[in-house]
Amino acid sequence: MGLYVLKRVGVLAPLLVVISFLTFTLNGLSPMDPAEVVLHAQGVPSITEELIAATRTELGMDRPLLARYWDWLLASLQLDFGDSYITGKPVWSLLGPALMNTLKLTIVSSLFIIALSIVLGVLCALREGRWLDLSVRGVSFLLTSMPAYWLAALMVWYFAVKLDLLPTSGMDSASSYVLPVAVIVIGYAGIYFRVVRSSMLSNLNEDYVLYGRACGIPERRLTMHVLRNSLQVAVSVFGLAIPIILGSTVVVENIFAWPGLGTLTVTSILGRDFPIIQAYVLVLAVAFVLFNTGSDVLNAAMNPRLRKEL
């Protein structure tokens, strides 16, 4: 087990370096010179060649790529991602609070998603082929084909405008969580409940269940055994789900004017605020990789057979 963890972490380090380098070079994709973007953002009336050259020096753009990368990496490790081109504030002072807000949304949603998918998955597996199973699967199939923002708009229109029960946007009180969380949960529970369900079903067909049944173990206790084995697979899936949800709240945040990462990123993209976009990509990619490794390690801890791979 120790060796496995060591191997995983060993792979992690170079991967993180490559990811950070790719994120850094993202800037080079832009058809516009960053110096020009800064000058535009500061509202400089006439942009001359000399001015661009001066800004380039000021931003340190004339130094070799690797030197700039090294400095950027060292600074990023201390959460110093530079200053926003548009507002001039440090990126982390904008990104940090936004990340916290998005995390709040993600964590609350994830808890509901996990609870709901386990309950639905188990119920549907135990009643496979009956109407509960069929209707839940049918509805979830439809819901996964539904654009999240469309569902969000419908829910805002109905619950916030027509019934006037919940706030339409912002994050002022606990009730502001209801609609965004509901939209995220509806979108994802449909996927993850299928995972739990099929895991339960494949376990229910195992020999040990048949044996247990033959020995006269009560059905309820048998279900608990199966549940424990099925959840093992679900753990890795849920571990991966969290960074995925973290990255995909963009649309929901925008609809509900949630002051989180998604809203910040879209504003930054429209304003070409490169440092923020860069920091956003780096933070989420690193989170993704870390969660990925974490859930693999957790899985290996629970299932020794998996440790042999790699």
């Binding site: 991967l15 490559v18 990811i19 790719l22 993202l26 800037n27 994709l29 832009s30 058809p31 516009m32 199939f141 439809l142 996964t144 084909s145 539904m146 654009p147 999240a148 923002y149 469309w150 708009a153 419908l154 805002v156 229109w157 405008v161 979108g187 994802y188 996927i191 993850y192 299928r194 995972v195 099929s198 895991s199 079903l201 494949s202 067909n205 697979v233 899936v237 991966l240 789900a241 960074p243 995925i244 990255g247 995909s248 963009v250 649309v251 925008n254 990123t265 879209v266 930054s268 993209i269 429209l270 070409r272 490169f274 976009i277 956003y280 990509v281 989420l284 990619a285 993704f288 990925n292």
Partner: protein, 297 residues
């Protein structure tokens, strides 16, 4: 063709296929089907309800919603299909090379894939669009950049199975060239695999591109696109919620048809599933596919 025949036996799959095919055809021949030019503004018809000449009514500029819906198929579905095709070809080609020749090429390609796949898809699309600027072309480019690695990975695994098969060895002994073997013996076997994963990515990509357009990162203003139509309807969401209905239902119809077709295709092509029935569901495959779908959406 045999596959198509079998697919058509399943009524729901046949219906889904019909929906997808009809959508593609209508989009391709949009000028023939659209009753009005999609960008023709008619201010006196603002927010007009359904009528005989405007079946689905008019939007905030008095444009024909039905025509915009029909023209919207092009960016929302056809262009996505094109990007998917490009990613699939590129990824499949590399996957073929990696899986067939193995060795150093394979090792390098797979490390590149590892890195590409370690970026969460949606974030990377946003990043590329953020750097290159908003626009349909950039989103499509981001799709190709993000998806090829995934195709390459799956195709490589599929090709590896066949590359060791006896009939391939036999063909080698007979002096058949690498290219000929790939074309004659491996490609036909791996093609269904490509079809399955491509179709499973298609639905999520449609959702994603309309989502980006909805955020204002996609196609530019006067053009019709389903996400864009909803973005425009959003400003009058509280007074005219019905404007959201048509494009939303169009997306749901197409995406659920595509998803259903992809499920049916997978069931048809996976003999293991067909023999043992629904009980032993392809757990890993289904799970990863579901994940992929959602990662994108």
């Amino acid at each position: 063709m045999k596959l198509l025949k079998r697919l058509l036996k399943d009524k729901l799959a046949a219906a889904s296929l019909a929906v997808v095919a009809a959508t593609l055809l209508i989009g391709l021949f949009a000028p023939l089907f659209a009753p009005h030019p999609p960008n023709e503004a008619n201010m006196e018809l603002r927010f007009a309800g359904a009528s005989w000449s405007y079946w689905l009514g008019n939007d905030h500029l008095g444009r024909c919603i039905l025509s915009r819906l029909i023209y919207g198929i092009r960016p929302s579905v056809l262009w996505v299909l094109a990007a998917l095709g490009a990613a699939a070809c590129f990824g499949a080609a590399l996957g073929f090379v990696a899986g067939y020749f193995r060795g150093r090429v394979d090792a390098i390609l797979m490390r590149v894939c590892d890195v590409m796949l370690s970026f969460p898809g949606y974030v990377m699309t946003l990043a590329i669009v953020g750097m290159l600027g908003a626009g349909l072309a950039n989103i499509l480019l981001a799709f190709v950049v993000m998806k090829w690695a995934w195709f390459a990975r799956v195709i490589r695994t599929a090709v590896m199975q066949y590359a060791d098969a006896d009939y391939v060895k036999f063909a080698k002994v007979l002096g058949m060239g690498h290219f000929g073997i790939m074309r004659r013996h491996i490609a036909p076997a791996a093609l269904p695999e490509i079809a399955v994963i491509a179709s499973s990515a298609f639905g999520s990509m449609i959702l994603q591109i309309s989502g980006l357009s909805f955020l204002g990162l996609g196609i530019e203003a006067p053009h019709a696109e389903w996400g864009m139509m909803m973005n425009e309807a959003r400003s009058v969401m509280f007074t005219r919620p019905e404007l959201m209905l048509a494009p939303g239902l169009a997306i749901i119809a197409v995406v659920s048809a595509v998803n259903f077709l992809s499920d049916a295709l997978q069931k048809e092509l996976d003999p293991k599933l067909a023999v043992s029935g629904k009980r032993t569901s392809v757990f890993a495959g289904g799970m990863m596919r579901g994940l992929r779908k959602k990662e994108a959406a």
